[in-house]
Amino acid sequence: MNHQGGWELIKNTWQSWLQHRGFFFLLAFGWMLPLLVYLMIWSAAASEGSLTGLSQDTLAGYYLVLVLVNQLTYATTNWTVGDNIRMGQISRWLIQPMSPLYHALSSEIAGKVVFMLFSVPVTAVLALIFRPQFNLSWQQSLLFLPSIVLAWALRFFWGYWLALLAFWATRADSLLALQDTMIFLLGGHLAPIRLLPNWMQSLAKILPFRYMSAFPVEILTGFLDKNEIFSGLLIQLGWTITAYLLYRLVWIRGVRHYEAVGG
């Protein structure tokens, strides 16, 4: 496998993405906004009565970290995988001497670089407005790192295997929209998991969607105790491995199924 070529591709992509900053800043703004809406709604609710131990400033801390984590883990590339398969673009990648996964990875990394250039300063300004509060502890901050890497990998491979279904069905994109909705409902966007009704909380803890976005945030902002963190990490790891295996399976079958039209 040619990793050198992959790295060159990654560098190239992010430099070319930076030339279209305005466009990506706008995308990032669009993702940020719903989270800010729910931050404001919940703070308005918290100002009237107490929400099971969540104050306005802890909510602000939770949502502002979630804005960043969400953008770090959101896999934009998966939306274009289906188009590339339908348009036959993927034929060219298949004959290149490196894994086509690199094409997805390159725009992933390019995206993160560009989105963070926008989101980090904006979040910093928002922090001045909403005045967040964190209950950090050292050990927990350390566990945040593996959990965010796993969250990214899980969200990426989960979306990727769904997108690869485009080998068979033309409109597999709608599965990605469904994934986004599930993350909104059960991944801590609509509300921190502990504010959800019980049946939704149990679903959130079993299904993979919380582990794609809210879980690292809950660790960092001190919402979880030690046991919850470790059992959560195990579930997250399990889902990540499952997602990767699904990707391998769908990819191998899909390429065998694939017939290019034209050149």
């Binding site: 305005g22 466009f23 706008l26 703004f29 669009g30 906004l33 719903p34 809406v37 404001m40 709604i41 919940w42 308005a44 609710a45 009237e48 009565g49 929400l51 099971t52 033309t170 409109r171 709608s174 929209a177 469904l178 909705t181 909104f184 409902l185 609509l190 509300a191 504010l195 959800l196 009704p197 939704m200």
Partner: protein
């Protein structure tokens, strides 16, 4: 009269084009259902925690959601696709094909506002009406004739305001086609999901008078629950008329500035 006939023809052509793709049918349906479920579930989660926020309880918030879904459906039905085909990404102004549109012997603003229809958004429209009906059922209040009348008037004003805002933002493309202004208003429109009273003071002012997405949904919902005063009703109507005139003026100024991309 001729206008109505033209709209009917546009509608027919769009319908034929859209119904050619059968998969779209299911996808639109799925999307409409997803929208409905997320909207209703969000309110359920919020009002599971608190009885009311800033004077808004579940029934009145549900009415507002109905208005929001109704406006979103109308936007998706024709305002959005029509304006997007001119000012959106890869729209006529980017492509330079706007010249052909200008040559048509019809009022330009009329033409670009009603040309494209996404018929399947009628699903969304029905679901929105369903939510409104459910909200009225929840209110259980003796709906006065006056409240219903006020609701219908303010709802029409809301649609007109939405149209004016979208037209104004689309017209900006004549000054700078690189920046996707229509996207910004799409993003900001999400803020209309909740009553403006729930947002912090500075944002409330912006959403009422500068980018009036707040007015579009909050006022009709207030009218339905009988909380709207006469002064606000008149103010809203005057503001709407002003916005329509202003947006139309901006569009005409833009047209004057337009120099063909091709020659």
């Amino acid at each position: 009269m001729q206008g109505l006939r033209l709209i009917f023809e546009f509608f027919k052509v769009s319908t034929q084009a859209e119904l050619a793709y059968r998969a779209n049918f299911f996808i639109r349906f799925l999307n409409a259902i997803l929208n409905l479920v997320t909207g209703v579930l969000s309110l359920t989660v919020i009002f599971n925690q608190v009885d009311s926020i800033k004077g808004w309880d579940l029934p009145s918030a549900m009415a507002l959601l109905g208005v929001y879904l109704l406006l979103a459906a109308l936007r998706g039905l024709f305002i959005g696709p029509s304006l997007e085909s001119v000012a959106g990404m890869d729209g006529e102004i980017w492509q330079g094909t706007f010249d052909f549109t200008l040559l048509r012997p019809v009022d330009k603003q009329f033409l670009i506002s009603f040309r494209h229809w996404r018929v399947l958004m009628l699903f969304d429209l029905c679901l929105a009406l369903g939510v409104l009906g459910y909200a009225i059922h929840l209110m259980q209040a003796e709906l006065t004739l006056l409240a219903v009348l006020g609701f219908i008037i303010t709802l029409i004003a809301g649609v007109a305001l939405l149209y004016a805002a979208l037209l104004a933002f689309s017209a900006l493309v004549f000054w700078n086609s690189g920046f996707l202004f229509t996207w910004i208003i799409n993003d900001l429109f999400q803020l209309a999901r909740y009553p403006v009273e729930l947002y912090p003071g500075w944002l409330r002012l912006v959403l009422t008078w500068i980018i009036p997405v707040g007015l579009m949904t909050t006022i009709p919902a207030q009218a339905l629950s009988g909380k709207l005063s006469w002064q606000w009703l008149i103010l809203t109507l005057l503001f709407t008329i002003g916005a329509l005139i202003g947006a139309s003026w901006l569009f005409r100024q833009g047209l004057k500035k337009y120099t063909s991309a091709s020659s």
